[in-house]
């Protein structure tokens, strides 16, 4: 009998891969190993509805406990894989066991970027797990002073929005780059997001690297900015991005470069080992550079690709990336890949709070669409991008022009 598939990491990528294997008729053993305790959960609500209580703990699990039983997936939680031996095709677990595999899937995800400074004082948090979210919510409910969110990425901003509107805190967002969402959104969108946060009463400090986070008097924390200004806070959130979890892969000699390097079938440099989700770096059509994405879509679609290869029905990874963010009552959705140097065309009126940004490459091809409170247009943009159908710039900017008509022509 085959040793089956071992999947390391049981989050969006790992759990979806296990489910996709069974759905495709895979009958060998599946072992899903998770360092985190408890049943695997959705992460996106942690900075949004879970913080405010709108999403209850019961609705966080990705799958119910009965799913793992019915599908005969061995879920091992609270156990870490401590080594991968590609030569022997086995992995070593923190409980001392050694498990053989026929295929290995690295779905190790990412972790908050470690802070560069000395020891951090109390009440400095990062947000990745349900436990982190509960700790932040508990602290937010008990403090009266200000909160500093370091880093203007999506997770930090969603949290800043929740802390402002739900917990009514004074919130400072401190970002080293000249604008918010430097990596994840266009300049045009980040400007709009910045306006929304200011309107909500949040304080933005842009182009403002943080020099130090020091313990202040009693419960306060001193956040020292680059120009030595100090913000006194009772809680600090480090939203300074994530780093891919590639330790095991690196130690096993697999190619890594800010992510575990894979091909379009999610295969690493070892033919029996795949890497999927936040931890993987992969090639993309029409792009000279490889990419690493930090979103649910990528985790789930790559999981299905790896499963398709394992069951012998290999499909390439060619999905259009998509992403959403809910903050300050606005739904932001992105389809495609935003890059520097694209030409932006606005569709609709910004003042109406419902509009879209179409981003074109220099050759006139549509590359990405950011929508603001326009879910239907987002869904249409996904279809256009998947089919590689480009409106021209004038059509994109003309709300009278029927973009749907381009499909099926």
């Amino acid at each position: 009998m085959s040793a089956g598939t071992v999947i390391i990491g049981a989050s969006h990528a790992g759990v979806t891969c296990a489910a996709a294997l069974r759905e495709a008729g895979y009958t060998d053993r599946i072992l899903l190993v998770s360092e985190e305790e408890g049943i695997p959960c959705h992460r996106p609500p942690l900075s949004k509805g879970y913080m405010t209580g709108a999403v209850s703990a019961d609705s966080l699990p990705l799958k119910s406990a009965s799913f793992y039983q019915e599908d005969n997936i061995d879920l091992l939680t609270g156990v870490k894989v401590t080594a991968v031996n590609p030569g022997q095709k086995n992995v070593v677990l923190s409980n001392g066991k050694i498990v053989s595999y026929n295929y290995l899937v690295l779905a190790t995800g990412s972790k908050p970027r470690p802070w560069h400074g000395a020891d951090l004082p109390e009440h400095v948090y990062t947000l990745r797990t349900v436990q982190d979210a509960s700790n932040i919510a508990r602290r937010a409910a008990s403090l009266s002073g200000a909160v500093v969110v370091i880093g203007g990425g999506y997770v930090g901003l969603e949290l800043a929005a929740t802390l402002r509107t739900h917990f009514k805190k004074e919130v400072h967002i401190v970002e080293m780059a000249p604008r918010l969402l430097r990596r994840a959104a266009s300049a045009e969108l980040s400007e709009y997001v910045a306006e929304l946060h200011k309107k909500a009463g949040n304080f933005l400090h842009l182009s403002c690297p943080v020099k130090a986070i020091n313990a202040g008097h009693k419960t306060t924390i001193d956040v020292v900015l680059h120009d030595d200004t100090v913000i006194n806070a009772e809680m600090v959130i480090l939203g300074t991005g994530i780093v891919p979890e590639q330790t095991l892969a690196g130690e096993a000699g697999l190619a890594c470069q800010d992510g575990i390097v894979v091909d379009k079938f999610c295969k690493t440099s070892d033919e029996f080992i795949f890497a999927i989700g936040d931890c993987s770096r992969f090639p993309v059509a029409h792009h000279a550079q490889t990419l690493r994405l930090e979103c649910v879509q990528n985790a789930m679609d790559q999981a299905r690709v790896a499963a398709s290869v394992i069951v012998g029905e290999a499909k390439e990874y060619a999905a259009v990336p998509w992403f959403w963010s809910d903050q300050l009552g606005v739904k932001f959705q992105t389809a495609g890949i935003i890059e520097d140097g694209m030409t932006c065309v606005v569709r609709g009126e910004k003042s109406s709070g419902k509009y879209a940004l179409f981003h074109f490459y220099s050759n006139g091809r549509l590359g990405a669409v950011e929508t603001i409170n326009q879910p239907a247009l987002h869904m249409l943009a996904r279809r256009l991008l998947a089919a590689e159908i480009s409106p021209d710039m004038q059509q994109a900017g003309d709300v009278q022009f029927d973009l749907k008509g381009l499909i099926g022509k």
Partner: protein
Amino acid sequence: MPELIFHQRDGSVRKVDAKSGVSVMQLAIQANIRGIDAECGGACACATCHVYIDESYSDRLPDLTDEESEMLEGVAAERRPNSRLACQVMVDDSMDGMGIEVPDRQF
């Protein structure tokens, strides 16, 4: 406790006791109903929790918001008049016996 009746893709029927106040999507995940993927976990952002709901219950369902209606335009399977996103339909006692059909695909 209302009972909902799920018609899965393989033709099997599952009756599930529901608590009021959870969404049809949450119920489906808890009961391990196949074919409701719910990738976004209920944020009305993925359209992979598409279902067809027994038309005779249509007056008992919450109204379709613009957001849900717009996302329904992008579902993978055919959109029908009784199409809903399961994450946007909260269960209440009046839905006892309601039939819910899982579409042939979600993406």
